[in-house]
Symmetry: D2
Subunit: 362 residues, 4 copies
């Protein structure tokens, strides 16, 4: 591809922003051409601006070191420099909403990691393997808001991505969930940098993450929702109850899931494993560059999935599942795991962008 699509990153100096720069380093379709952050960082080179807080294990991309960081709140800085932006801009909900809508208004599509717009009815929240059809909500959004080329799209919270695709794979076969009880063991990187103090995670775990249980209980209902006759409706047959904990792991969120079915139930655990292992969706059919060949990988070993061993499956884009057993209270239980900063954040958003590109939205 001779002419790559020009990409901007809002919040480029933060943890997720840094990850974008690495994951896009040799992307076949996209090229980072603009980096923006808060006023504090604006005007500095990217290297300077991230000096004390570059926290990725890999070094800052050489090509971007000398980039002058723009002010994310000044949309005019971005004009002409990028065709769309990934937004991991931090701030109050109001700030983020104001900033992201300004880009969309100016004709620059926004793919956002933030939760600010996740619950706005004409803004889709996408996991490409699950609700790729929701992308059409963009058409309504553009009409509603008088946008031209611009729009806003969001990706959901990282905590739900370790079990949502396995649950969806069963739904696709007619096995709908009625109740889910989930407890998560979430990695330190989910809190960004500096994030969780080391004193809190040496010989310790924390049974609480601000706002995380609420997102975990609510976001799946929108993602499983239906877009029918131009209207969108949340999935209303499922109740989720979540407890989210932090454990001393760098990357990889684990979800311990207990699930009860609505009416139809799979005939056996083996049927479920078969459904998971053979699951393919739109990103696989379209062979999107970041799509995992196997979106769900069932691990037969009793002691898997484990964060260090399974988070990097399919370059961090697959969900690993294991320990499927009958649950005496609900119906089944299993353990899911995904890489929170790849599948659960920057990688998931890039896959979404690839889908948008193929569908002509970018």
């Amino acid at each position: 591809m001779v002419n790559k699509i020009k990409v901007g990153i809002l919040g480029a100096t933060g943890a997720v922003g840094q990850n974008y720069t690495l994951l896009l380093e040799s992307h076949p379709w996209f090229e980072v051409t603009y980096l923006a952050a808060s006023a504090n960082s604006a005007g500095k080179t990217y290297k300077e601006a991230t000096k004390e807080k570059w926290f990725m294990d890999k070094d800052i991309p050489k090509r971007l070191e000398g980039f002058i960081v723009g002010d994310a709140s000044k949309i005019t800085d971005a004009l002409g420099k990028c065709d769309f932006v990934f937004s991991s801009y931090e701030g109050s909900k109001e700030d983020i909403q104001k900033t992201e809508i300004a880009y969309a208004t100016a004709g620059i599509p926004v793919i956002s990691n933030n939760s600010a717009y996740r619950w706005t009815s004409d803004v889709p929240m996408i996991i490409p393997e699950i609700n790729h059809e929701h992308i059409k909500i963009i058409d309504i959004q553009r009409k509603n808001r008088g946008f031209g080329k611009g729009f806003i799209i969001t990706k959901p919270n990282c905590s739900i991505q370790s079990y949502m695709t396995p649950v969806y794979a069963l739904m696709e076969k007619g096995y709908f969930p009625k109740s889910i009880i989930v407890s998560t063991e979430q990695a330190s990187s989910g809190a960004g940098y500096p994030g969780v103090p080391s004193m809190d995670l040496i010989d310790n775990t924390i049974p609480y993450i601000v706002g995380e249980a609420e997102k975990t209980e609510r976001e799946p209902l929108k993602i499983f929702g239906e877009f029918k006759n131009g209207k969108f409706q949340d999935y209303d047959k499922l109740k989720i109850s979540a407890t989210c904990t932090r454990v001393p792991v760098t990357n990889g969120h684990t979800a311990i899931v207990n699930l009860g079915f609505l009416d139809n139930k799979p005939s056996s655990l083996d049927e479920i494993i078969g459904i998971w292992n053979s699951f393919r969706s739109e990103p696989q059919r379209l062979k999107l560059p970041s799509a995992p060949v196997h979106p769900i990988i069932y691990r037969y070993e009793e002691n898997r999935p484990q964060p260090r061993k399974d988070r990097d499956a399919e370059k961090g884009m697959a969900v690993s599942v294991g320990r499927l057993r009958k649950c005496d209270v609900l119906d089944i239980k299993f353990v899911g795991l995904s890489h929170n900063t790849i599948r659960g954040a920057a990688g998931g958003a890039i896959l979404t962008a690839e889908l948008l590109k193929v569908q002509g939205y970018l």
Copy 2:
């Protein structure tokens, strides 16, 4: 107390055995007078026998360093040396059963940490705050088996002790559980020493512990069982579904509990907290030396209980609870935590011994 009761420890060189020696160092009623282990260790001094594997943070008690370790399988070695034994002897189920019954037959009561006899119907499995009345099963056991002074009594698995007392406190007020979904985050010390390899717990967790989910699902039913008209019956109205995981924590098992009530439900979360904070039981009424003044401590902070901060509450004998919330799938959810090697192992067994002493069984 001038004349202390003489105590033997079977499996004295193992992890739990070591903990017994420390916890009994200055016990007002009990004095360690005999240490026994496998044939390999027999004949060595206790210091030699634990040389490469003393894994407690505190040093080996000076008084015991020079003790000659006996052979646990030779009951004659123990005769006259101890009035009863704590057994944390390791081996096959058959070995353990054979050994423990030999002591009981020889007139030496056995308080066992092992699971070998937990499911034998005339052997009680005791958490002193909950089923102290089950101690009377000993009378039946003695009769059944023709024991004189001897008997066998067990303590349950450490994984259930972080939430059983809170659940029982509610039962006592008429709020019976119908269903429990629990996932645990268990400490490394639960596996003894050498136990879990460090390579498995650096930047990692493991979603599996051999046999632990089964024990977690089954043991509470015996403990909540009823002893009526000389007969014992398991509690049969409760279903438990458990997933047990290992996390990089030295001590302190965390349990994330979702619970549904049978019929009667507490009127509010505050009522539950009140019940927990005011809960007192037999060990408290008897002021047993190892009894925690507050067996259940509710932590109001959103991010508690935490292993490093709460495991040592009441010298490791209290259960700390927090994060009580409504559960949309069942009724309530909360997080419980207890010290697995104190409340969950040696400390719990010592408290049981104190109860037995007061009741005239020792």
Copy 3:
């Protein structure tokens, strides 16, 4: 003691300040009567002011929860409320100097954990077991600066306390060090709270701590200095070369020390161990309440001292030493360990205060 000495804590909301409140909870001579911090915290109760950042494993002392925090920069707030202060006030060097001198001028002695005044010639820097005689520098300081009852005294950096006492014990016997090469493995708590991000210490170590190598190389020279004929002179015969690293440990700084003697050398490694084990100094002779009975404990096991097993020796006030061997490059090598927030910070300062009290300075 009916009337306890009234103690204020400057920087009471910080990590070291919190530790002071715990260590002084039942002190026989001192009672905390005043808590002060920055303007941000002033006016709040101590509980409120530390709400999001109480990071000690033990709970905040009940008695202090409702104390209204004063503004450390307003000396008038402290007047009449305390007889002396421990200062762990954070800020720029200028701020700290200004604040501490204001207290001293107002007649309130200051025992400081800060480095701001450590290199001022008329301000002593004290490790009670080593240079208790330097306390007399206070007389000069008072004269120089026209102080009445007030004065400033400092304690040295935590990084040097794991090996300074063992080195001094040898000096006392005529074995003077000429060169020391030391590398430290320092605990997370040394950086306070929030301190080091967890992402930096999971599956990782950091070979750098700001300013720490410099302090480690320089401070011993003042502590080993001589106060003679009313004049003070640094020890100038010793060169120290240090590298300080951070490791994933909560508490306990380890120092790996290689040492060459000036001229006189001990006759054997056993002689050195004997000197260490029998070392006693002024705090021991005076039986100060916080003085460890054995200030230096030699561990004969090959794999000791270890942070988790040795940091709490003598309630965290002893230095544990081990692995004494010949060094082919210098003369000897050994490993030292002490509890950085007790012996190396609040505990060391409290012991100094006890010494000052006995000597009539408080």
Copy 4:
């Protein structure tokens, strides 16, 4: 290359053996054709034999899963199946020597990770960038022992590989070391699997590793030795003093090095950095497949090298160096880091094999 050289792995079920299978998975010259281990594993498939102890983060290579493991002690099993072997066979020194010499006698060259033959005078111990010329010792060995195609060659201990190449780079420019004081912070994987118990490395470090300090002090003298006029002589002008500690890190050994020069000294720290960054040796000149392009990478950041961030530099084959400063006791100090199971074990041995192949020994 159509016909790859056939490779056997002795000790294939152990930690280092597992790493060989992964690193050789797509090697351009070598192909694993034979796996052998102890009698316990012999006869099982490789998958079965490693079932409970596969401890690599990446899965077992599919191609090798069904391989039947041979008995390493039966040389006849290997005949015809491999052209040479990598040996990480575990056992007593005598066992290892007996086994390895049997292969060499049978005409199968042995490249060994074991220390059994490291100090035998006609057996070279190779770091390819440093003493590639010592490979010629093989000629003498073959003559001495009447070997045909067979020979034994060793690689040194992992603990020395984090600083030996940087030291050698200076020697090559005429700056010879006279004294080195080194303390290491070594990763858990260095002890294999199960290796160090997790209870020893949570909130802890261990200041001792069996035999490691001795190897660290002695092996460099052979590696820096000279092979002249058909005779080999250890380097005798250098004294090394080492302390080796274990830290909670999965992979990556850190070495804190203080070094004094013999006579010639570099003119500045910058000169040293320049020498390191431009250092290239035989593996680079020959463009061996596993050779790092930059064998030494100087990190200018104050807080580098760090295990998690630097161990994978150049696919784990480079040594990262940082924190170069003057040492007041010796001359300079710095921190070196390398990946202990790649550069320090299997990777280093593969690079040696590549060198042997180019030189016609394989």
